[in-house]
Structures are given as structure tokens and as C-alpha cells.
């Protein structure tokens, strides 16, 4: 299995590649006034309006810096039985490498943060620890409905 690595603060995190649609360069986003915390804005991804979450803002409270290596990862977060794909963008820093891993390499972190259900298991590579992020759990269900409704309306507009 493949893990797409990004950095937030001093720590390294990973997103599982199986649900990733594409990694695109940092582009200008449409700012959404009164957007929920951690939402960077809306991205025009090949004609589809996609809400983009700032992982750096979510994980450290500091928005992602504008760098070449700061990129937007497009992930399919739709449930298994959903007919249409639900795409969510994740802005993150230092999105430049991947790691091949096996499920048994992962260890349970042992700390469950109530506010952050998306923090997953941890694995060790040659440099440091990498914590896997569950992209589907980044947004709470209630907010997800709002977000996608927003995106849908934007698409209609």
C-alpha cells in the first residue's frame, strides 16, 4: 500500500493513496466567508467545485504557507454505496514523497483525541514517525452535509 506523505509543523503525516484522485499544484481558491474552521476555500477542479480543507490549519492552527511543495490532494470521500463521487480537497505542506507500507507496519497511537477522529495509526520509517490521516473523518457528518450542499449549490450556480 502507498502512503502520500505531507508535513504539518515539525510532524509528518500520511494519506492512503487508494482513495486519492489526484495531487494538483496550489491554485487560487475562492474564499468562503464565515467558512468553518480549517476550510481553505473552493477549488475549480476540472470544472467541478470542490471544497478544500487546510490540513495544516486543522493540525497546528497555522494555515499552510504558499510554497511550491504546498499542494492540494483531491480525495474521494464518498461512502461505498454512493453513486456520485464526493471529492474533497486537502491542502498540505511538503507533499513531495510517498512511502510504500503494509498494514501490519502500523501501530495504534494509543491517544484518542475526541475532537480529531481523523488521526489514525502510526508507522515508523527511516526518518521519523508518520501518522495516517483518515480523510473521510476530517469533517464531521453534520458539516459534511453543509459542505457538500454548498459545493452542489455552487455547481448549480
Amino acid at each position: 500500500m502507498l502512503l502520500l506523505i505531507f508535513q504539518s509543523g515539525e510532524d509528518r503525516y500520511g494519506l492512503d493513496a487508494s482513495r486519492i484522485i489526484e495531487v494538483v499544484p496550489l491554485a487560487s481558491l475562492k474564499h468562503v466567508p464565515h467558512a468553518p474552521e480549517g476550510m481553505a476555500g473552493l477549488l475549480n477542479y476540472r470544472g467541478t467545485i470542490v471544497p478544500v480543507m487546510d490540513l495544516s490549519a486543522l493540525l497546528t492552527g497555522t494555515p499552510s504557507r504558499a510554497r511550491l511543495s504546498t499542494r492540494i490532494v483531491l480525495v474521494d470521500v464518498s461512502p461505498e454505496d454512493s453513486p456520485a463521487p464526493r471529492i474533497l480537497g486537502f491542502m498540505a505542506e511538503r507533499v513531495t514523497e510517498t512511502i510504500r507500507y503494509r498494514e501490519q507496519d502500523l501501530q495504534v497511537s494509543g491517544v484518542a483525541v475526541p475532537g480529531a477522529p481523523y488521526l489514525g495509526k502510526i508507522m515508523l520509517d527511516q526518518y521519523a514517525m508518520v501518522q495516517r490521516i483518515d480523510p473521510a473523518a476530517v469533517i464531521p457528518e453534520s458539516l459534511k452535509a453543509t459542505l457538500f450542499a454548498l459545493a452542489k449549490e455552487s455547481n448549480h450556480d
Binding site: M1, L2, L4, A17, S18, I20, E22, V23, V24, P25, L68, S69, R71, V95, T96, E97, T98, R100
Partner: protein, 674 residues
Amino acid sequence: MHSQQSITFQLSLLIISSVALIFALVFGYNYYISRQLVMQGVEREAQQIARATLKRIETVLYSVQKVVQGMSQTVQNMACPQQDLVRYLKAVVESNPEVYGSVIAFEPYTLASDVQYFCPYYCKQDGKLTYVDLGNASYNYLNWAWYTTPKSNNCAVWSDPYFDEGGGNIVLTTYSVPFYAMRDAGKRFQGVVTADLSLDWLKDLFASIRIYQTGYAFLISNKGTFIAHPDAALVMKETIFSVANKRKNLLLEQVGRRMVNGDTGFIPMKCLLTNKDCFLYYAPLAANGWSLGVLFPRAEFMADVNRLNQVVLILTAIGFFLLLAVIILVARSITRPLTRLTEAAEAVAEGRLGDASRLAQEMAGRAAGRKVRNEVLRLRQAITTMIHSLESVVSQMGKSGVLVTASRAQIDTSARQLESAVTQQAASINEAGATSKEISTTTQQLAQTMDQVTQSATETATLAGGGVTSLADMKTAVQSLMESTPQIAAKLGLISQKTSNINQVVVTIVKVANQTNLLSLNASIEADKAGEYGLGFSVVASEIRRLADQTAVAALDIENMVAEMRTAVSEGVAAVGNYTSQAQISSEKIVKLSDDLSRIIDQTQQLSARFETVNESMQTQSQGARQINEAMEQLGETARLTHDALSEFKKVTEQMSDAVCGLQSEVARFSVRA
């Protein structure tokens, strides 16, 4: 041949033939035993009829015998006159209804020495008692068989039946008994007494014997003459042998011999009247050796058995048809699901999974009402499970194929983007190389200019050091220096401009490297989605990413070098500025202070030293440009490697495409239900 028949046919044939064999054996045994029982019954019946008939005949014969024997005793012991004998004879005939007529005949001269013939005869002619004296020469009783036979044999005899001599068609038989005169302690033949017995009553007796419809009894004498027979034409006219002779019937002749010999038997033969198959029972009459035959028509006494057998056969046939119908029904109910399953399996074999699944579902629907748990059900369940598994495998394969094809298209796009990026990078590298060459040339020109300046300065120093002479010359020299200053500044400005050009190129390289890194990331992700097929491509993608990182590192090096070069140029500019102002000051001082020549010489020497610094800076620049050139070559090498990796990557993609095409064509054989 048999193997091509259906299970129904084979099953029916097997069971029907087995049952038919059993039926045939049972029927045959039953027929044999019943026939034997009937035969035994018939024989017993024949014996009873024969015995009863014989007994009735013998009763009559014995009664006649008693009468005659009584007469012989009477006549033998009683020597009485002729009239008394005649009277006695008349009384006997009158009192015995069985006796038709009677005779007392004496040997000549035994009754009385003067009586030659004595033979009185009484008979019931036409129911009227009639006396006939047969004792005359014309009749001559002494030569008749009824007289000579008992005389010669010394015993009582029954004569053969014959027609009455005295007229009338009455068949008679005569019992003759000899009587003797007891004299001189011996006995001497004295005469014969006889009694005639009419056989008319035999007609009635035999007519009353009824055996089934056409069976009958007959009586023959010990010479074979028919005495009683339903066919009146035979009676007293034919013998059994003459009939056998006429009809060329050997069996009849043999039977006749046995009957005449007094044997008893029960044998099959042909009826004399109807020529049908019969069984004949024959037994002798003990009194006179006649033989009685009783004929049983076979067809009639076997009629019951045959009817029973017919009914049994009809019932058997009905049973067979019922059994056949039941077998066919049962066999059909077994084979029908099998046939349907076979159709389903054939549909699977031909790849029509949808049809197969529909057939299996129809069967399941049909079987839902019945609660059966047998091999057919298990087979159907197994086939249904197999079809579902196949369907899910096929649809899964189809989906995977589509997914892989989509991934392949995306990979192709990525590869094309990567290729154009690499081409762009190569162009940028070439541009950077050309720019660095220009820098090198400019620096060399600068160095030459600096050499000239140094030379001028040295000349100035020499002029000053030599105590030479005119300040005007010095001023001119200073002015020429002043003129050189803007040139130097212009050259330095050019260098600064080129440096910023390099910076732009470096930025382009960095952008390209970044783009390459991004593309390789997406390629890795797509390769991971492709699973096993993407492994080779995944390696290529990570290799490309490594090359992009190396490019970024090389670009960083260039950036650092350019920064160093800029520092050097700024220093040069500062030095030139400084030198210009000092030259101005010097010029002013030359104008003002012609005597301060020594100081000017010192300052000139200082200038010379500063030119050295500039020169060193220039050399550093030149070296920097060379290093940039080397870095560019390294970049060119990297681009080539990238290109090689790309063509390898293309090959892998084609292999993957071929594999997917093969897989899809294999799967396309199966049509999945929509």
C-alpha cells in the same frame, strides 16, 4: 446406441423387462401347476365316470350270470322229464326281466337214450313270450358258437354281441354255461344253458353320460367292435381297428389293442367325432373283457383355466401399462430438473451467464413449493452458487478492467505531460548553458579591460615613479581612467543583468522539477491503484521523482553560485565606484597638488592593488561561470536519464495495456445478466 437413449427410456426398459420376466415366470408356473391340477381332476373324474358306468353294466351282467349259473345247477342236479324242463325254462324267462331269452341244450342222447336233439328256447319277442324248439336238424345247435365255445373251454363264456337271428334289430349277447352229469366219480359234459341279454338299455345308459359339451363314453367288445357309441353308424358295423385303418390313425390302433388287452389308461388323443384334442380314459369290463372308453375334450375342461389365464394376461397387460406410466412419470420428474440443469450448465459453458442464472432461478421458483432434499436439489444449488460466483467474478473483472483502462489512460496523460516537461527542461538547460557561456565571455572581456586598466595604472605609476614630468600627461592619463570607469560600470551592469537571467532560468528549472515531482506523485498513486500491474510503473515513477529531486538540488546549487557571483559583482561595482571617486579626488589633487606626486604614486599603487581585487573577483566570476556550465551538463545528463526512464515507462504501460486487453477478451466470453 443405448447410451444415447434418455434415462427415462433406459429406466423404463430395465424395470419393464425385469417385471415382464417375473410375470412370465409366475404366469408360466401358475399355468403349469393349474394345468396339472386340472388334469389330475379330469383323470379322477374320468375314473369315477368309468367306474360308475362299468358298475352299472356289470350289475346287469352279474345278475344274468347268476340266473344262468342257477339254471345250470338246477339242470345238472335234476333229472326230470322234458316237459318239466321246458316249464322251468319258461318260468325263468318270465321271472327275470333282464333276460331276453334262454336256452337249455343237451348233448345228443344224454337226456334220454332216444332223444337226439333237445333244445327248447323261450324269448320275449316284441314283449311277448314265445317258445321255439331249436332241437331239429335244420338249426343243428351243436355247431353254434354259443354251444361249442363253453363245451370246448369247459367254462362259462359271454358271446360277442350279435343281431338277433329270429328277426328284429335287437343286439344281443349270450352267456353260456356248461353243465355236467356227475357219474362214476367224474363229470361228463351234458349240455349248455344260456341266457340272452338285450343290449338296448346300453343305448340309454351311454346317451345319459354327458361329459362337458361334446365329451362322451363308448364301449367296445373284446374284438374291438363298437357296442355303444354316439355315432350310430359305427355301432355293430365297425371295429376300432377298421376305423383306425380307414383314418390311417396309428395311435387309435395302439389304443384299440390296449383296450382289447384289458389295460387301464389315461392318454391324450383326437376325438373320433370332432377331431379335437381329447383325453381318453379306458378301463376293461371285468365280466367279459369288453372295454369302456371315456373321452374328455381338452378345450372344454381347460376352458376355465384358459379363461383364468386370459384374465390374468389382461390384468398383467393393464398392470404393465400402469407400471410403465408410473415409471415414465417418476423418471420424467427425476430427469426434468436434470435436463434443465444441463441446459443451465450448457449456457454457462457457452458463456451465457444471464440465461443460466435465469434458468436456475426458474428452477428454484418451481421447486419452492415442494419440500425436497435430494441430489438434484443439491446439484441445482451447487450450479446456482457456481453461476453467482462466475457472475460476480466476471463483473468484478469487467470493473477491474475498466478501472485499469482508466488508470492507463491517466498514466498515458501523465507520461505525455512528463515528456513535455522534460523537453521543456532540456530547452531551459540549453538556454542556461548559452547564458553561462555569455557570462564567461563577458567576464573574459572584463578581465582584458581590467588588464588594460592595470597596465594604464602601472604606466601611471611608472610615469609618476619616474618623476615624470608633466601633470598634463598625468591629467590625460587620469582622464582616460575616468573615461574607462563608465565602461566598467556598464560591463558590471551587463553581468548583473545576465545574473538575473540565470535566476529566471533557475526558477524555471525549479518549477519544472516541482512539476515533475507532482506528476511522479500522481503516477505513483495511479500505479498503486492499478495494483499488481502498476508495480513496474511505480518503480519508474519513484525513479523519476528521485531525478526531479536531484534537479531541484542542482538548481539550488546554481542559485547559490549566482548569489555568490552577485556578491562578487556588487563588490566590483563598489570598488569601481570607490575607484572613480578616488580618481576624481586624485584628478582634483593632480590639478591642485602637483607636488604631491609621491602620494599620487602611493595612491596609484593602491589603485593597482584594488585592480588586483577586481581581477580576483573577475576570476571568481569566470570560475563560477565554468561551474555553472558543469552544472548544466549534469542537468543535461539528468534530462537524458529522465527521457530513458520515460521510454521504459511507456513500454511498461504498453505491457500493462496488453495484459488488460487479454484479460478483457477472456472475460468478454461471458455475458453477465444486465
